[in-house]
Symmetry: C2
Subunit: 173 residues, 2 copies
């Protein structure tokens, strides 16, 4: 685990957290995600000849919409990829995905499909997720062990356990 | 590989094929899928006391919508799960998913998330997919090696290679 993230990571991760909170406020599963493309030039230069589009930026963001939209597929990471829309393979290969909670197998599979090389995860305490599968396929993983993420998710699981277990395809124990 | 499927399988698989053809006719990636719930009673009895709802039926179906909706997430299997909507964990565990083409890692991950125990695949020649991952997690796999699926998919790949490679996150060779 590491809390050493850079400015671009902070941009992506704070977007993910804001979406998690928004989902909670809407009565939904409080998981958020964002997809950041690292840009086409040196990340240090904002005055390059490449102009707008060369700098790192959030290209997709979203949150879990199971409750809000009655959706079985719109997990946070899937929502962020949906928001990003159709992208060329090269874009994903130069991107990082941020999520407030360790990804399930569906979201992990989406990351593998698009060969996103790096994931920053808020926490993996409330849900273990598929970190081993990601690691075995060469995805770089950063776990922040973020207190805000742990607290928000823990609160939701206590308040709406049925919805939480449904979201991960598990029976309420 | 096996062509030995039962009546319920035929129902699900023909729905998947019809969706693949519909997608092709719409100018889209011709992959279709269906989710069949096996019902709550004996599949042989349609006159049981359990009434409507106890018999096997298609609860979700769809096709790839990358081109039609500009979507990076609506692969055929994801569309079928989306169409099925929110379901209790027990429903998926008593279901089979049908798809015209071997599933990518995202769709495989969705199958693993919901613990769908069985998949019937039209063909795995045009795309190998994640059959090993499915098998390693205990999912029963039937590959039909269906000529219609192979022909339709092969035709699309020849006609629109850019779109096909984009759909699987690969660079056009
Ligand atoms: Ca967008
Ligand atoms: Ca439906
Ligand atoms: Zn997920
Ligand atoms: Zn897929």
């Amino acid at each position: 685990m590491s809390s050493l993230i850079n400015d671009v990571d902070r941009l992506g991760f704070e977007s993910a957290i804001a979406h998690a909170q928004q989902s909670y406020d809407e009565g939904g599963v409080p998981i958020g995600a964002a997809l950041v493309w690292h840009g086409s030039g040196s990340s240090a230069s904002t005055t390059s000849d490449e102009g707008i589009g060369a700098c790192p930026r959030v290209i997709g963001q979203g949150h879990n919409l199971r409750i809000q939209k009655g959706s079985a597929i719109l997990h946070a990471e899937i929502s962020a990829l949906d928001d990003a829309g159709r992208q060329k393979p090269d874009i994903y290969r130069n991107a990082t995905i941020y999520t407030t909670l360790s990804p399930c197998s569906m979201c992990t599979g989406a990351i593998l499909l698009y060969k996103i090389p790096r994931i920053v995860i808020g926490e993996n305490v409330n849900f273990k997720g598929e970190m081993e599968l990601l690691r075995s396929r060469g995805v770089e993983i950063v776990v922040l062990d973020d207190e805000r993420c742990k607290e928000l998710m823990g609160k939701f699981i206590r308040e709406k356990p049925e919805e939480w277990y449904e979201d991960i395809g598990e029976k309420h124990p």
